[in-house]
Point group: D2
Chain length 270, copies 4
């Protein structure tokens, strides 16, 4: 286990240039000064995380994915910043609190699904439909057969996740509907079959996974689209709660059921 | 001090609709399903935080602002996520750590400048150049006269902040160069005069402030553009450090100068 | 504004010794190996934050203060970790979320009160009762006269804060009831007078402030006793929620009142 | 997957009593008012997390464990708060940043070791030495045979971890050296055998694990002793860095090796 110091950093992401003549930042070989005004945020995000500029169509699909994740009511990631606002904590800490709240039961399943697809299909996969169908059926049998859920499917508050459908549609229109999206479709079919015809819809985590992979991102990048995009909702809700000037959001004592020990005399500890 | 419970939430940001017929989220009155594929991320961010859709030109300027903030080498907000990666902490916690690191000496000055401009000019300001010049000179005299710095100006590593210049240029091209941008220009001139001709350039925090106000955002929104955009850099650096598999980034013992008490026998505490 | 690199660290807190013969950490000149088993946690906390070992009596008072802050039902700082548990986020992130939630409207007032007392009385203050009384009356008149609250007084859910009373009692019994505690008493009297006989009790933030100062801590240390101690409650509540296996604690849609725009056709943005 | 709302909380940890007559908090059946001044912080922490008061000897051992974890130079968990201080971020956010930094490669191994011991021995284990020896040898063969490390052993900067040795010693003196501590000893022997006589010392994470279990805590509680205790170090280092008034701790540009693409003309994205 060789540990590292705070010296010795290597990066291929960017280089800050400040040599008297030129003041610029080189991002993956591109001048930031030139990107400003010429590339959209989604395109530049693609460049940073993927290493190269997207095509216009890839940029459109990434924009669609980011928009689809941006807001979902006062869902937990935006509830947390509202609570922080009522405690008088700063905006950046409220957003950090919301982002850090993502866990195994919230948000993590996109990455799990992306990993699963890479495990089953490999990177830069280009399987034909028959193969994808077979692998999807095996995968679902394996996971659901052992009583688990397939990551990326299912949503508590909706019968379908309309956002997922729309993003898939945009992906098709822009030629980004590739092997991983198709595989997600076969997974969906296989789940429905496994449940005797009752479907479990692809959710927003799942769509992040298959779109990210078909856009050429590493599977570990999957969660980024949710985190960056949802930070806007977190900020909006924080600022709204702040403007409402609420104080100390809390559970009233009578809504807490105490099931612990009753009062006792202090035990002698010997 | 009337405190609030966890019930009773009011929002004008969005409404999740799930009534059998319709599955959608209404954002500021707009269908999310329709926004996906039709609006860019920057436009939808504008909608969420500003309450209405931007014009195309406003969207272009917001895109430019977001791109300008997206990456600046392994600057502290992206250094923190790299450290977290070397400790084996999850991506979302690394980004939260980077976002929460913004403080009085980093990132906060954009909001301070926006607040200052609102204090001096009011909201929806539309002063003429002569008035702006006068107020700018008074403001600089007041602040620098008491030994303080004017927020939004100055950058440690560059002689100018090329990002700020580019965004201002895009704002001019798109008709978003309004009263607050102009006021920032007069502040810059007044600072240069106060320092006998040595300029202090508008920085990225400053450009967030004046562009945000000229786009009609509340001054409290200023920091959002930096936070959301820079989260991409945080993620990119976290993922790169993770791929380098570094372990436990730390300060070597010999780089720490201990100036405390020398070894003493245990004091009797009585 | 001279910035600093990641090299060049100076500390008088501790020194890790590992030279073949000795493996130890010197804390403020004391051997950690010797402290283990000989000093209590409270005494060692005192040593770290105050620079010297406490007397036995000071240690007893610090223990009392820490115990008084350790748990207060599912108050917000422990609510946050419970939410995180229901989202499947790790224990350390749940606690970090709870600690970071402390803000201007929660927890911050202890430090404000300590700062106020230092501003009014100076450091290492030793004023007589008459002087303290006069300063307390002036301070209350000044603050409440301008419509503000005196920090460190008032608690939403109790008529008195019994914890504060008990800690003050222990401080008296152990000779730690010094100038700052006495001043807090005079502030309390002055507040009652100002409100025509209706008292506002000293709260847990307030007791942290006056005990910390009478124990010789710097006023900036005030919040530490709350943060460290309450982290235990945060952990206990996180772990209990985890054991209850709750999933995705959220606000039901029907408890959210949407006051925003009604559905509109997509505006043309031009 | 049944989700939960923000209503309906059950706890056996504590109950806040405020009924006019009594103002108190009942912690696991004990009056907080009585605990203040009568129980140490370590004893009360035991009560909260374990459900019952410790014996005096158990309290002494927990104190020793907490003291052993409290400070270890400017190690990463305390480095992070120092960085935050230099960015002007608040104390509570600095500590939250330090606590949230604990991950798979730092701090997590105590919990892993505790889980491993429960998996191998069961809860409330009382095996005899011969059985423990056999299980330890099997466990080490299994883990190290597959190229993994046994969690809870090994420390980068020391040849031994003197803190671990001292805590084990205190545990022996106080009758808390039980099955799990003995098992850790056999694991240590088996590791040494596996490495042909070269020992890997029990570390602070490991000692948290075996002491926690021998004190009767649930294995999931293991990390709490490190987190709560080390928060003191985090606060001390934050406050010291703040007092040094350092600004913007960063990596100098020349210490960053850019291995990315060289400048290129903007690609046409079509």
């Amino acid at each position: 286990m060789e540990t590292r110091t705070l010296q010795g950093w290597q990066t291929s992401i960017s280089r800050v240039i400040s040599d008297g003549d030129t003041e610029d930042t080189l991002i993956r070989g591109h001048s930031l000064n030139e990107l400003i005004g010429n590339a959209t945020f989604a395109e530049t995000m693609f460049l940073l995380l993927n290493g190269k500029m997207p095509t216009k169509k890839q940029g459109v699909v990434l924009d669609a994915l980011l928009v689809s994740c941006i807001e979902h009511g006062i869902a937990p990631p935006s509830l947390i910043p509202r609570l922080y606002a009522s405690y008088g904590t700063g905006l950046q800490h409220g957003i950090a609190g919301g982002i850090s709240a993502f866990g195994e039961k919230m948000g993590a399943l996109g990455e799990k699904m992306a990993k699963l697809m890479i495990d089953k299909l490999g990177e830069a996969a280009a399987q034909d439909d028959e193969t994808l169908l077979t692998i999807a059926q095996q995968t679902v049998a394996e996971i659901m057969g052992s009583g688990e859920r397939v990551p990326g499917f299912g949503i508590p508050l909706h019968s379908r996740d309309p956002r997922a459908d729309r993003v898939i549609e945009i992906a098709k229109e822009n030629g980004v509907y590739g092997t991983y999206c198709r595989f997600a479709g076969y997974l969906s079919d296989a789940i429905t079959d496994h449940r005797s015809g009752r479907p479990v819809p692809l959710n927003i985590d799942g769509v992040c996974a298959c779109i990210a992979l078909d856009l050429g991102f590493n599977w570990r990048t999957t969660q980024m689209f949710l985190l960056t995009s949802r930070s806007v909702s977190m900020g909006a809700h924080y600022l709204e709660e702040l403007s409402q000037d609420t104080i100390w959001r809390h559970i009233p004592a009578d809504q807490i059921d105490y099931s612990g020990a009753v009062a006792k005399n202090r035990e002698t500890n010997t």
